[in-house]
Symmetry: C2
């Protein structure tokens, strides 16, 4: 099934993606499949419904994304396994997660303009990408849980990884060669940051401070340290992000909190 024939003129040719990747596909159908969203396929299928009764499976990117997710985990794990011979699985897992999470992959898609090649009929995608671009402007490398990355952007990177993998006769080395550059900067042991919620928990545990999150994430979350209001955060569409923003605010205030608690004052830290 050829999808290319139905492209409206505003979708640039898929061959440009081969230039971005520095990889030429032996079978271009993998490339096409990797850049076809289910919404696009559905429209195509409706148009062809009368003609054929064959199975429509495998022509949008979900299967390649599934394969690519697995391959990505392997190449990153392997790299770090050899780079850090003393690191145990707990640390290796955290390091891998930072290099394969949705925000990291969405940034890679954006940095290399891969999203421009996705064939889709998902009108809201443009707005989601625009909002993401605005949000990450504050965080040049990684926000660590403070922004909402569109999953579709990350999917594109995974599906392209899957496509290069199957097209290269399942060569893990080829995939690493192609995608290492696209995933730069790779998060290393030295540059790994934890999410603010985790950092705040650890900090309070160390100092034996009582930590509480209150409020609803739709209206806003308040962080209390030993019953002192220490930080506030909100994010309408995702609880985890609202919590991280509140924790980040509390961490920024932590110096003040500790001083206040030592003085035994009851003033609120956050106005």
């Amino acid at each position: 099934m050829s999808v290319a024939g139905a492209d409206p003129p505003d979708w640039p040719p898929l061959e440009e993606v081969e230039e971005i990747l520095g990889y030429s596909f032996a079978d271009k159908r993998w490339l096409e499949e990797a850049l076809t969203h289910a919404s696009f396929r559905r429209q195509q299928e409706e148009a062809a419904a009368a003609a054929a009764g064959t199975s429509g499976g495998g022509v949008s990117y979900e299967r390649l994304e599934y394969m690519g997710d697995c391959v990505l985990n392997l190449i990153v794990s392997r790299e770090q396994f050899f780079r850090y011979p003393d690191l145990m699985p707990g640390d290796l897992t955290r390091l891998r997660a930072a290099n394969v999470d949705t925000e990291k992959l969405a940034r890679a898609a954006l940095n290399h303009g891969l999203h421009r090649y996705l064939r889709h009929r998902k009108p809201q995608l443009g707005d989601q990408i625009e909002a993401f671009v605005e949000e990450i402007a504050e965080y040049p490398v990684h926000s660590n849980g403070l922004v909402n990355a569109p999953k579709t952007l990350a999917d594109i990177v995974e599906s392209l990884i899957g496509a290069v993998f199957v097209d290269s006769h399942c060569s893990v080395d080829t995939v690493w060669k192609v995608f290492k550059r696209l995933l730069e900067p790779i998060v290393e042991k030295e540059t790994l940051r934890v999410h603010p919620v985790t950092e705040l928990y650890e900090m309070c545990q160390k100092r034996k401070l009582r930590l509480e999150f209150k409020g609803s994430w739709k209206q806003g979350i308040d962080v209390y340290v030993n019953d002192q209001l220490a930080g506030r955060g909100n994010y309408e569409s995702k609880k985890e992000i609202a919590q991280n923003r509140a924790a980040k605010d509390a961490l920024d205030n932590l110096g003040k909190i500790v001083l206040l608690l030592e003085d035994g004052e009851d003033d609120q830290i956050v106005d």
Copy 2:
């Protein structure tokens, strides 16, 4: 660090594992690492504590197990990706899970006698394995959530997969060649079974029956279908297994349940 020198005579030589695998290690240290449990390493380290101040990382199997887990996911995913070109990620995930879960891997270790080569100081392991052998006697292929498989048994398979992977210059094909046979019978689309809890939920949903699990898993779990006691199960050490056993019992009684409910009788199905 050589571990072999301290082996008591009841541990058979590691070289036999190469015969079981049909793979000869270029660097035997990977094989040794894959079959060294942390409890064994600790004892070794205590003995050597006075002598050296170097890092002890990497000489028990956790790192290879981490790597092997990743490689196993990849080889199984790849196999099924090509075998089932029409299967979507949801089904592929379930199929993969059935081939890489703890019970499946523990059975593989047991079937090929791999557990006999693990260097450990974990006295309870022998009893755990014995109990497992007894429990699975009822289920020749897979119990689907009705027995408790010792994680250490599964770990051995994953760490050996990791060892073959790194020793073979990261050849995914070599790993698949070696371990396909050891993992037989591979669960295929046709032989895939869901866990009893899932099956019962789906069955009740289809027939619009109300399903409830009651009781504590330590004492025993009761399953009610439209307020009728339909099944019972217990398993002291794991809630999930107790629930699955109760659901299995209810499924075995399902014919009776449906008849009773149709007759509008109030008798209990389970005595």
